[in-house]
Symmetry: C2
């Protein structure tokens, strides 16, 4: 059964909450194909001791392995926060069909370097602002607690 | 014993040659710390069926695991080709001390999106053009054979 972007983003938020509970920067991502969630991941930089273990990267690797394919033209990534430059580059290589993100990230989002240039594959659709307040709220709570 | 940038780039080129021999886009990378090579990797996109399995990413992961650290401020990455956006973002997060690359990549290099904006950590030094001809030659031979 098809779910709405908001419903899928709730699933990404549930992943972000897991990160929050484990004292990781609270970003969560899922990948959906044919109305099915084929990957779920949250930021694991601290746990894996790997500064590149972002939710999007972990979700992409899971999806590649699951599908046995290195491209994801029929899949959609839902991620709670605007992807960084690294994750945007990874999404470019994946040729993913659609990217939906929640809140902007002025500090580390891809637009900091790319400006108005689109770093994604020309066929990739981009949607932002889904459950924006909830996605941003989790980040604010996390960093507030650490200041 | 300290080696020169050219000597280390030869080691990255040897990795690129391995990729070439395995019908992967011939990019190789090594990471050096205290005059010691702590990671060697070549592009494995085809073998791992993962469009993000670039030499730089694989070398970074190896270095993080080897050192048990998610940051590499005292390390240098040698890579035969200008890093793409994804790899540049990953290098940013790693806070690597120095990046040395061989040949420019007009099609996929980070400057395509970033222009003159520096995507790396402010403390990261950047050197390019080391063994440029050799690094570019391997790429040209690879793509010529496939046209």
């Amino acid at each position: 059964m098809a779910m709405t972007d908001e419903q899928y983003m709730q699933q990404a938020l549930a992943e972000a909450q897991k990160a929050f509970d484990r004292e990781e920067v609270p970003v969560g991502a899922i990948i959906v194909m044919n109305n099915r969630i084929i990957a779920r991941a949250h930021n694991q930089v601290e746990m894996l001791n790997d500064s590149t273990a972002h939710a999007e990267i972990l979700a992409l690797t899971t999806a590649f392995n699951f599908l046995g394919s290195k491209y994801l033209p029929d899949a959609t990534l839902y991620v709670t926060v605007e992807p960084c430059l690294m994750c945007s580059g990874a999404l470019y290589w994946s040729k993913i069909g659609k990217i939906v993100y929640g809140t902007d990230d002025e500090k580390n989002g891809y637009r900091k370097c790319c400006g108005n240039k689109n770093p994604y594959h020309p066929k990739t659709k981009l949607v932002s602002g889904i459950l924006k307040e909830e996605c941003a709220g989790l980040m604010k709570d996390f960093f507030k607690a650490r200041r």
